[in-house]
């Protein structure tokens, strides 16, 4: 079976190399048979990699510890779910997952485009196969998950207990769906440049792919943050660690891209900018892969110094050279057909939105790679901490938030003053009311004041947009308000899906601001039946409990919790001691409400004196981060749901393009 798996990987490499060659030659010579062969080969690669991945899963499930990779990440005692998840627990397996996802996406692209985009497809398949070839070379020559140990240990090492949670099982695949998903719009962009078909067909064709990749990168970020929050026991969810930044950067540029393509679709402007953004997004997603594996940048997460760093760097260099060359070659065809007329127009608000997002991305990039740069230039490593990221990004994020509220209210091209007065009245009044309320509540710190006021403004705008649209529809059709609202959204899914996403983003920012500026924490020691006050909560240490099974010993403290004198439940923070890992694990317990989380950690328990030491964090509004992501998730689905209007626009663009190229 391991040998069979290795053979599959070699076979996949050969077929995908052929797919690259056949598609590239087919595109140049316009040979239908070569193009078809390239497409069929790319389907075959998916099948072969599917078999290889099943083989690896089978090896995990059957405890084949003579395979080094299985022995390193699985053990007999692990539940089957985690044996399956151990597939991507290590470097080699996660590479295999990466390339499996990529080839599956390629196959879907091929199947979707059997009868459309024929002028682009050979180039698309060639680009995607090129990427596949590279990752298969990495798998075959540097990190093969089917490598044998040469002996059979009695049991495997097992997956680290902190990673044995369902969240950790789905977090990496989500990130990969995002990282890899970016390849599809990138491949279409390259195909557009190479074929000269640089109209908006490639953009409209890949719109849903881009949204999909963007959503999963985001969900990956969310799950990582949420896991850190409930599992690691430091009360936070984001630390500006290089690994987190690596996933954030392509997400930011993809966000910029999603916005700026609208300008190209509507106004045929910013073509070079859009190309640059998608190239940048793809490069950053490869860079992210590079960052998490190379060991170049140290992080709290430990990396394998697997030696793939240099290889990935070379690939990165090749991608940049190739993309920039093709882009420069086609510059004459990327002339803008419109003009940015007015300062107060939707176009310019999109422009500023893009500058801000790229600015945030640049800040994150600069702070992340600075240690490497300073070591190369000055011979000494200098790092910058979270304060840098926070001070620079906070004003940028606030400007972005303000734009989110302003943009839907101002018209395309040029907005008139009286129109502006009318539409700004309600959202601005709401914002001022919230501002006043915050002052009354005693908040004097400028940053959160501004942030919450802007959040209120944007929410007001969004509510007003939904309301105004539904009322207009109600007046013309005589439908009930709710029906009008439903139909309004149904008929303009992209627009109102987008607004819903913005509402989600506002919720997330509310949560971030609340939990960053108003967090309280304290360490305290209690004997049994003693109490301590934490904000509005009274915490009483009641009892301890311990249990034990074959994998771990568990010790927990039981604390009664009351708020404003009323009982609200129990918290049971504890410590697990995993026998096979010889490592304790703090198990936090959280009392969650919409207004705040009481997050409790057991630090120490001295059995002799009966003194237990705890730490609590009061994190206001933190749950709005997770709620915001759910809203964002729903909104994105609204926006990607097939829409007859979008389809008609795409068909029209295709027709125009076919006529140009006939």
């Amino acid at each position: 079976m391991p040998l069979f798996g290795s053979l599959c990987l070699i076979l996949a490499l050969l077929i995908s190399a052929w797919s690259l060659v056949a598609s590239a030659l087919g595109a140049l010579t316009r040979s239908r048979s070569l193009i078809a062969s390239g497409e069929r080969s790319s389907l075959a690669v998916t099948a072969v990699l599917g078999i290889a991945s099943s083989a690896l899963t089978f090896l995990f499930l059957t405890d084949r510890f003579d395979v080094e990779y299985v022995a390193s990440y699985s053990s007999r005692a692990m539940p089957s779910l985690f044996k399956v998840a151990a597939f991507w627990g290590g470097h080699a397996g996660s590479l295999l997952l990466w390339v499996l996802v990529l080839s599956t996406f390629s196959a879907i692209v091929v199947l979707q485009n059997r009868h459309q985009n024929r002028g682009l497809i050979p180039y698309v398949v060639a680009t995607l196969s090129g990427i596949t070839v590279f990752f298969l070379m990495l798998l075959n020559f540097t990190s093969n998950p089917f490598d044998l140990l040469g002996f059979t240990p009695p049991d495997g090492k097992g997956l680290n207990p902190q990673l044995q949670t369902p969240l950790m099982a789905i977090h990496p695949p989500c990130l990969y769906l995002g990282y890899v998903g970016v390849s599809v719009p990138y491949a279409f962009a390259m195909a557009a440049l190479m074929s000269g078909r640089v109209g908006d067909v490639w953009i409209r064709t890949t719109r849903r792919w881009t949204l999909f990749a963007w959503l999963f990168l985001g969900v990956g970020l969310l799950l990582g943050g949420y896991w850190a929050y409930i599992e690691l026991g430091w009360g936070g969810y984001w630390a500006w660690d290089p690994v987190e930044n690596a996933a954030l950067m392509p997400w930011l540029t993809a966000t910029a891209f999603l916005h700026s393509v609208m300008i190209q679709e509507k106004k045929r402007m910013l073509k070079v900018w859009n190309m640059s953004l998608i190239i940048l997004t793809f490069i950053l997603s490869i860079f992210g892969t590079f960052l998490t594996r190379s060991g170049v940048i140290s992080s709290v997460h430990s990396f394998a110094k697997s030696g793939v760093g240099t290889v990935l760097a070379v690939f990165l260099g090749a991608v940049i050279t190739f993309s920039v060359t093709v882009l420069v070659w086609r510059l004459p065809r990327l002339q803008s057909e419109g003009r940015l007329d007015s300062f107060v127009s939707r176009e310019s608000s999109f422009l500023f939105n893009n500058l801000l997002l790229v600015g945030i991305c640049f800040t994150v990039f600069w702070g992340t790679i600075f240690p490497v740069l300073s070591e190369a230039v000055r011979g000494v490593k200098i790092t910058v901490g979270p304060p840098f990221f926070n001070t620079v990004n906070f004003p940028l994020a606030m400007a972005l938030l303000a734009l989110t509220g302003i943009c839907p209210l101002i018209a395309w091209r040029r907005a008139s003053a009286s129109h502006l007065m009318r539409v700004f009245l309600y959202p601005a009044s709401l914002a001022m009311a919230v501002f006043g309320l915050l002052l009354v509540l005693g908040i004097r710190d400028l940053s959160p004041l501004v942030a919450f006021t802007l959040c209120a403004f944007v929410l007001g705008t969004m509510f007003y947009e939904f309301y105004r649209g539904s009322r207009a529809r109600q007046r013309s059709t005589g439908e009930s308000f709710l029906l009008a609202l439903g139909k309004l959204i149904g008929k303009n899914r992209r627009r109102y899906g987008g607004y819903t996403v913005h509402v989600g983003v506002v919720f997330i920012l509310m949560g971030v601001v609340g939990s960053s500026f108003f967090r309280q924490e304290a360490t305290f020691s209690l004997r049994r039946d003693q109490t301590v006050q934490a904000g509005r909560y009274t915490i009483r240490f009641q009892d301890t409990a311990s249990s034990s099974d074959e994998h771990m010993d568990r010790f927990e403290a039981i604390l009664g919790l009351s708020r404003d004198g009323r009982e609200v439940g129990h918290l049971r923070p504890g410590r697990n001691f995993y026998k096979s890992f010889n490592q304790p694990s703090t198990e936090v317990d959280i009392h969650s409400t919409l207004s705040e989380d009481l997050y409790l950690i057991l630090i120490d328990f001295d059995a002799q004196s009966g003194l237990a030491t705890f730490k609590y964090y009061l994190n206001p509004l933190v749950n709005w981060i997770w709620i915001g992501w759910i809203v964002l998730f729903v909104g994105t689905h609204l926006a990607v749901w097939p829409d007859p209007r979008e389809r008609a626009l795409l068909a029209r663009s295709r027709l125009i393009e076919e006529r140009t190229f006939a």
Partner: protein, 142 residues
Amino acid sequence: MTGGRLSRISPKIAISVAILLAAFATLVSLSFRGSMVYYLSVSEFLKHPPSNLDDHFRVNGKVVPGSISKQSGVLGADFDMTDGQGIVKVAFRKELPDTFVDDAEVVVEGRMKEGVFEAHTLLAKCPSKYESQQKASYSASP
């Protein structure tokens, strides 16, 4: 490359973009200077502690096995940290992460005081997916 595009953007917008960029650059450089910290290994730190960035450092190394000493009733621990060449004594007085064990890779931030490095933050490398030390231990076994 941008010439063609810029000519299609009104001067008003071009100027405000320029102002924004300037403000951004100022913001970056100002906050950057404020948060720079030297990141050194134990022996680099001992050999040549550069001092133009405050006397505040970030030092990485490994926990010397057996050196961790904890007092009951006091948070944190005292331990020795090494990179194989030099050793520095570290005192940390906050709650310790689970990953802080003998031989763990740690990064501490703080300053030297009377021969002891007083750390105000301590990171111990958390168990990530890409762990490969296990590989080494397998290859070493018969």
